[in-house]
Amino acid sequence: MDIQSLAKDIPAQGEQSLEGIEFINNAEQYLTFVLGNEQFAIDILCVEEIRNWERPTQIPNSPNYVKGVINMRGIIVPIIDLRMKFGIGQCTYTVTTVVVVLTIEVEHKSKVIGFVVDAVSDVLNAEADDIKKAPAFGGSIPPEFITGLVNQDNNVVTLLTPEALYKIEKHQIDGCNQ
């Protein structure tokens, strides 16, 4: 009864309709960024924030692409250099080097991880139809981490799967420790 009477007082979830924001089209939005000469993109809803590069605190005996951890408003966030991980471009740290901090949902827990990229460039709107399958033979990035490819003008943008980014990180670190 307590619970029932409570329930009466609370409007059912989802009752407030999303009227008024229909002008946003159905396309998913992606944040594009640059690694070397290549364009990559990641689901914008995962992006927690974009930070300037700052020197992180090293983690002892970690693989070389794990640059260390930083303090993001009291949260300890590991920093991973995507260029080093994917073997793309030069691993230099300049004023334009940025860290894209992502929140990745893994098994009902959200992990916050920062990825070093050369620069962030744009927000890309892509509908499901726009996303093409990546060819099976390819570069240094294993295919399971690629959601698909999107054509943007004359460029091709690689969409990355955030959940997989967490997994490769975990997988490869484990591998290194052994």
Binding site: N71, I75, I76, I113
Partner: protein
């Protein structure tokens, strides 16, 4: 409007587990003394059943219904509270717990214990309650006999705030009208002058006359069930029978009402007479239920009593209940902090050197505020240790049945506060210690009597604060630890050299060696599963330690010493290369500058430092962590000598920095466990520093040296 019930599911589960704890505690109390706890047990069972029905937990509903029926009979005094029934009920509590889990996971629970207990319950229910007390029988019988067109007089005086709780008397009257014909008289005497009326308050009271042939008092009470705490309710039966001579004997006990309540508990012969006098004129006779009191204030008092153990009795909470006083204190402190902050920012607006003194005092104040705030916030995480202790009465109860020993449990210092995380992890080791005490410690009744002890063994749990740590003692007054047996076993296992002389403490420490058990027979209770070595490991992983004291024939005492919190640590900041590390202050023995003449290289490039009598192996942090260090030569290097589990190690660092309290942050939240690092913290400048895990580093160093040994041996083989 569709309601998503799922959002209330966690609350229901939480409340149900609480309810089960209440039932368990209540049932155990019921054995020792018959008190009001039967009501709280019934209430708990009732609300579990109700909630389960709402959420479609059908298995729970069905099972709990049986339990409730049994409890109801006990509550009404229709059934004597027998020890065997309590045993069944205790088992049912376990079953309900299983069923809730099963229903939650949407599976059908096929545990055979449930059908067993169910049949036991049915059996118990069906066994006619011949042994009920005659006077109670009399009462219930009377309620049933006086059926023909009963009239009930209900005095319903709501408290002024009744309507604010969302209740409407009209609904109640409508519900009553469904039961029977009503004559309602509204009493407006309390109504104030129009200008004084508070529109949200209710000033009316009602007198209701209800005439029905089949409405029972329970039906009427049910209508008022949800407002019983917000009103004064008197239900009086207007029968056409009169009590010839009310024998006002024992049952007038806790009546708080005036004479309108007369007690029904007549002796059997008066029952006879009253039956014969059915034709007598109407006279008001109070039917009393429950504790003979119909004003609801005492009931809410009982409720209040229920709530206290409910808050106490919950292990593994995902949420914390915090006392209002603690929250108020926090608000006060934050208020002060805000004042200090505004003072400082005002000072900063136009600052010149003349105001330096003001600034320093302001900063001092800020420091003070922050410290107090920190302490208060930490206190929120602190829970009384009764959360961990609460499971033991049941455990002892079960153990004493299993072992056939009579064991009494004494709990002291249950209000001692402890960090929630520590509490969650100390539960299992404590259970192990208590099981051990019950199984190995306490002797059987015969042996106890033969040794001139009381036949009842005592296990006492005691918790108290010492400095910055908490001590939990598990005492038993059993036979004590047999020093010789332990020593012999150790020699047999090759842990100890045959002729070595050991102190008592050293001998008792052997109990924590892996695979060590002196119990000649492995019993169902202990001697299997986690051993004492696991207990010790768990305690050490919490940063605590365990000591044993024992006196032959008098008993043993296991003393567990734990840090109060895992969230904050006193640390020594050290620098290695460009990195800052934190060494837990508690592990540090001393810090010194290495003198060249005290350095020895032995057995293949192992560096030892002579610290008085000890040879301490030197562990260069830069090597262990693959860092660029400024100082790579051991000569004149700074050594921080740390100790863990009797093993001293000299950590080589570049520089000693400040000592400070640091807040421990987990690396695992977003990354993973790192060898040699127990966590990270944020320093004053906002940068992150790693906290060294001394035992982990020692293990790492051992591993590295093993690899080195292996390669060395392999190398030798190749050379050969």
């Amino acid at each position: 409007m569709s309601i998503d019930l799922a959002q209330f599911l966690p609350t229901f589960l939480e409340e149900s587990y609480e309810g089960l704890e209440i039932m368990e505690t209540g049932l155990l109390n019921l054995q020792s003394s018959e008190d009001d706890s039967i009501h709280s047990i019934f209430r708990a069972a009732h609300s579990i059943k109700g909630g389960a029905g709402t959420f479609g937990f059908n298995q729970v509903t069905e099972f709990t219904h049986l339990v409730e029926t049994l409890l109801d009979e006990m509550r009404d005094g229709r059934r004597e509270i027998l020890k065997s029934d309590i045993e069944i009920l205790l088992q049912s509590v376990d079953c309900i717990r299983l069923l809730i889990d099963a229903d939650h996971n949407k599976i059908v629970c096929e545990d055979e214990s449930i059908s067993k207990v169910e049949s036991l319950l049915n059996e118990s229910l069906n066994s006619s309650s011949t042994d009920t007390q005659p006077q109670n029988e009399n009462k219930s019988e009377k309620t049933q006999t006086a059926t023909d067109a009963q009239s009930w007089l209900i005095n319903f005086t709501p408290q002024p705030h009744l309507v604010q709780t969302g209740n409407d008397p009209l609904f109640l009257f409508n519900a009553l009208a469904d039961l029977a014909d009503l004559e309602i008289v509204c009493n407006t005497s309390e109504l104030p002058a129009f200008s004084d009326i508070e529109p949200k308050e209710l000033y009316l009271s009602w007198q209701i006359k209800l005439t029905s042939s089949d409405a029972t008092e329970d039906d009427i009470k049910e209508v008022f069930e949800w407002v019983e705490d917000e009103c004064t309710l008197e239900i009086t039966l207007l029968t056409n029978e009169a009590i010839s001579d009310v024998q006002e004997d024992e049952a007038v006990n806790n009546d708080t009402q005036e004479q309108s309540i007369q007690v029904q508990s007549t002796q059997p012969e008066s029952e006879q007479s009253s039956k014969q006098e059915l034709a007598e004129p109407l006279s008001p006779t109070a039917i009393t239920t429950d504790t003979n009191v119909l004003t609801t204030k005492p009931q809410s008092a009982i409720m209040g009593k229920d709530k206290a153990p409910a808050a106490k009795a919950k292990p593994d909470v995902g949420s914390i209940r915090v006392g209002v006083d603690k929250v108020d204190m926090l608000i006060n402190l934050v208020g002060e902090l805000v004042i200090t902050q505004s003072m400082l920012s005002e000072l900063g607006n136009d600052f010149d050197l003349s105001k330096v003194e003001k600034l320093t005092s302001g900063l001092d104040q800020l420091l003070q505020n922050t410290k107090e705030l920190q302490e208060s916030v930490m206190r929120i995480r602190m829970l009384p240790i009764s959360f961990a202790f609460n499971r033991f009465p049941r455990l002892i109860h079960d153990l004493s049945i299993k072992t056939g020993k009579q064991i009494e449990l004494v709990i002291k210092g249950e209000q001692t506060e402890l960090d929630k995380t520590v509490m969650e992890q100390i539960g299992d080791p404590l259970v192990h210690l208590v099981r051990n005490a019950a199984d190995h410690g306490i002797e059987s009744t015969e042996v106890r009597l033969a040794n001139g002890k009381s036949e009842k063994g005592t296990i006492s749990l005691n918790a108290y604060h010492v400095g910055g740590s908490i001590v939990i003692e598990v005492n038993d007054d059993g036979g004590g630890i047999n020093r010789e047996a332990v020593l012999n076993k150790a020699i047999e296992k090759g842990i100890v050299e045959p002729n070595s002389s050991l102190t008592d403490a050293q001998v008792f420490d052997l109990l924590f060696e892996p695979g060590f058990s002196t119990a000649s027979e492995v019993t169902d209770i202990s001697g299997r599963g986690v051993g004492m070595d696991v207990v010790k490991k768990n305690i050490q992983s919490l940063g605590g330690r365990i000591q044993v004291e024992s006196e032959p024939g008098k008993g043993s005492c296991f003393k567990v010493n734990l840090p109060l919190t895992l969230a904050i640590l006193d640390g020594q900041l050290v620098r290695v290369g460009t990195e800052v590390y934190i060494i837990p202050l508690i592990t540090i023995v001393e810090s010194l500058q290495a003198k060249a003449e005290l350095i020895n290289r032995v057995s293949g490039n192992m560096v030892l430092y002579r610290l008085r009598e000890d040879n301490v192996p030197v562990l260069p942090i830069y090597q262990l962590f693959n860092l660029e260090a400024q100082c790579t030569e051991i000569e004149n290097a700074l050594l921080v000598v740390v100790e863990f589990d009797g093993q001293k190690v000299g950590l080589m660092v570049d520089d000693l920095l400040a000592q400070q309290q640091v807040v421990i942050k987990s690396l695992q939240d977003n990354y993973q466990q790192v060898d040699g690092i127990s966590g990270a913290t944020i320093l004053g400048d906002g940068s992150v520093a790693m906290i060294l895990d001394i035992p982990g580093m020692i293990t790492m160093a051992l591993k590295q040296s093993k690899i080195a040994q292996k390669t060395a041996v392999n190398h030798n083989v190749e050379v050969v």
